[in-house]
């Protein structure tokens, strides 16, 4: 993080003109002002809906129907959260956690191995293979639904969480493989070579030299897989039709569509719970994520 402090560069500040012919000091002040305004704008833009979700989940029905900034004493309630304990929604969230964790682990393992192979081993058509993978994204996922349903049924994976994990892994894999491959290319090969000279096998070199250094890309891939699995509605609704294994995305829609009048309080409470992990990850893992994304080209 480089901070941009105006320093005295030894030049007369009036002899050169900044942007729009303003002198440098005015331009700098203006720039700082724009910066603060932009930061505040984006913060409010993204935080406002999240805040609205939180406060709506803590209000009774009558409190929600009169638009207000805060729940008052008589409209404040925790019932929507306490109601969730032991309800089917708890199962939905648990299923989502299982599926998401499984997807993350599988994506990281597969893309680490493939990324290493693409970056360090010589075999034909490597670049073409990687481009070919990205072409997979061009086929609209919604049309994959029916063939996937049939293939999964034949493999006996339909209605199992493992089946959804495999599908989601396959979907997020091209991007993760590409990320790993590009990242491992930036690690100097000399480090591995010195391990080999010391008698380490290729596997040992990979395990003890490459993996520790690939940590940012691993976290970036894991977060990408998390975003995909945690977000997924389309595949979950096709491959897990049973209530027992349902994840929260189709589960939430079901909650909305049963009975009359959407149970907004419950929906907002569940939405809030599913927003907390992203907030925590974004706060604690942001620097790794940014390091992992320091790639330059396709």
């Amino acid at each position: 993080m480089s901070t941009d402090t105006p320093d005295e560069s030894g030049l007369d500040p009036d002899s050169i003109r900044g942007i729009f012919g303003l002198d440098f000091r005015t331009a700098d002040t203006l720039y700082q002002l724009l910066l603060s305004l932009s930061a505040a704008f984006f913060f409010v833009l993204i935080m406002f809906p999240i805040y609205w979700m939180l406060q709506s989940s803590l209000k009774t029905r009558s409190g929600r129907e009169a638009v207000s900034w805060l729940p008052t004493g008589e409209t404040f309630t925790l019932e929507y959260y306490t109601d969730l304990i032991g309800s089917s929604v708890g199962t939905f969230i648990f299923n989502s956690v299982v599926v998401t964790l499984g997807t993350i682990v599988l994506v990281v393992i597969v893309s680490l191995i493939a990324g290493y192979g693409l970056a360090r081993l010589e075999f034909g058509h490597k670049e073409n293979f990687a481009r070919f993978l990205l072409f997979g994204y061009m086929f609209s996922p919604i049309v994959l639904g029916l063939p996937l349903y049939l293939i999964w049924r034949n493999l006996g994976l339909l209605g199992t969480r493992v089946g959804l994990i495999v599908a989601l892994t396959a979907i997020s894999m091209p991007f993760s493989v590409w990320l790993m491959w590009k990242y491992i290319q930036t690690i100097p090969e000399a480090m591995e070579e010195s391990a080999w000279v010391a008698g380490a096998s290729r596997w040992r070199g990979f395990r003890d030299v490459v993996i520790p250094q690939t940590q940012p890309a691993i976290i970036a891939s894991a977060l990408f897989a998390f975003a995909l699995a945690w977000n997924d509605y389309t595949f979950a609704s096709i491959l897990l039709p049973e209530q027992q294994q349902m994840t929260f995305a189709p589960g939430l829609l079901q909650l909305i569509n049963t009975g009359y009048g959407a149970p907004w309080g419950q929906v907002m409470a569940v939405s809030m719970l599913t927003t907390i992990p992203p907030l925590l990850f974004a706060y604690f893992l942001q620097s790794y994520l940014l390091k992992g994304f320091q790639i330059r080209s396709l």
Binding site: D7, A27, A39, V110, S140, R202, W230, L252, P277, Q286
Partner: protein, 311 residues
């Protein structure tokens, strides 16, 4: 994919314990990827192509081969061309807006000194929030009876009539979808760009300052060359993702009101899963794929996002 081609001759000692050649190990390392790719991409795409060439009905045992009849039908229905135009509007509008907002966010996050970590976390969160939550929240906030945005937009600013739901209006539905998508997906571009911005050594800017460059010149001559390549990649990926975007549109508007937000993926879904017109739906999917593939190849030829900018 500009990496210097290496010959694998100086590595004999590393593989001497293994009876496998480097080519075999290399192939083994991508084998899981190939297998996964087979079940998620190759077989389903093959299935789609096969189905698109047949007269499919779920009741019949055998599907007669009809050649290109489904494709002829695709190009003859007005709904296809209308949906293609709407899809392109949605894709181009979304991508441009996301690029502007994403870059602006990256520039902002790169330079703020106070609460940087917190604001970055909040901004990144929008990408990780589940689509379904974004949909439900948008529905809730736009609700005609108790929505806060309805309150602000209709009653305070008078942008639309207080009795209407903005997503239920032909003129507002598509712009709103683009805006909601931008809220969620701009961060994708921000992450790519910010990662590059962080890697620019500050001495570059110091040197530029000593030479008397102003902010705009610094951006043009120092920053832009560094982030150009990665922006090209991010724009390509975002365009593809937005063109194929289904869940956000479907859960918010089901392609309505009327068909104001029916893009090609929505049309394919309606034809396939509601009208059970599988031959036509799969032909649509293949046409969409060809459209994107041609667009992608043209993009590569025009901008070459593979080339790295050496700075």
């Amino acid at each position: 994919m500009a990496s210097e081609v290496k010959t694998g001759d100086q590595r004999g000692f590393s593989l001497s314990q293994l009876p496998l050649t480097e080519r075999h190990v290399g192939f083994l390392s991508i084998l899981p990827v190939i297998l996964l790719y087979l079940v998620i991409s190759i077989i389903p795409v093959g299935y789609a192509v096969y189905t698109s060439l047949h007269e499919v009905s779920l009741a019949a045992q055998t599907w007669p081969f009809v050649g290109l009849q489904n494709y002829v039908e695709v190009f003859q229905i007005d709904r296809f061309w209308d949906s293609l135009i709407r899809g392109v509007v949605f894709m181009v509008g979304s991508t441009i807006l996301q690029l502007i907002v994403g870059l602006w966010m990256a520039m902002t996050l790169n330079r703020i000194n106070r609460a940087q970590r917190l604001i970055t976390a909040v901004v990144f969160t929008s990408y990780l929030i589940p689509t379904i939550v974004v949909t439900l929240l948008a529905t809730f906030m736009l609700s005609p009876s108790f929505g806060v945005i309805q309150e602000l937009g209709a009653n305070l600013l008078g942008l639309w009539s207080p009795n209407d739901a903005p997503l239920g209006q032909r003129s507002l539905a598509m712009p709103l979808l683009i805006l909601i998508g931008t809220w969620k997906f701009s961060v994708f571009i921000t992450i790519f760009t910010l990662a590059q911005l962080r890697s620019i050594p500050s001495r570059f800017y110091e040197a530029a300052r000593v030479c008397g460059a102003n902010k705009w010149e610094m951006f043009r001559d120092v920053t832009l060359p560094r982030i150009q390549g990665v922006i090209l990649v991010a724009v390509l990926l975002r365009s593809i993702f937005m063109f194929n975007k289904f869940d956000l549109i479907w859960t918010l508007t089901q392609g309505g009101p009327g068909s104001a937000t029916t893009t090609l993926p929505v049309l394919a879904y309606i034809e396939g899963f509601q009208n059970f017109n599988l031959g036509l739906a799969n032909a649509l999917a293949v046409v969409m794929f060809v459209f994107l593939a041609i667009g992608g190849i043209a993009y590569f030829k025009a901008f070459n996002p593979s080339s790295e900018v050496e700075t």
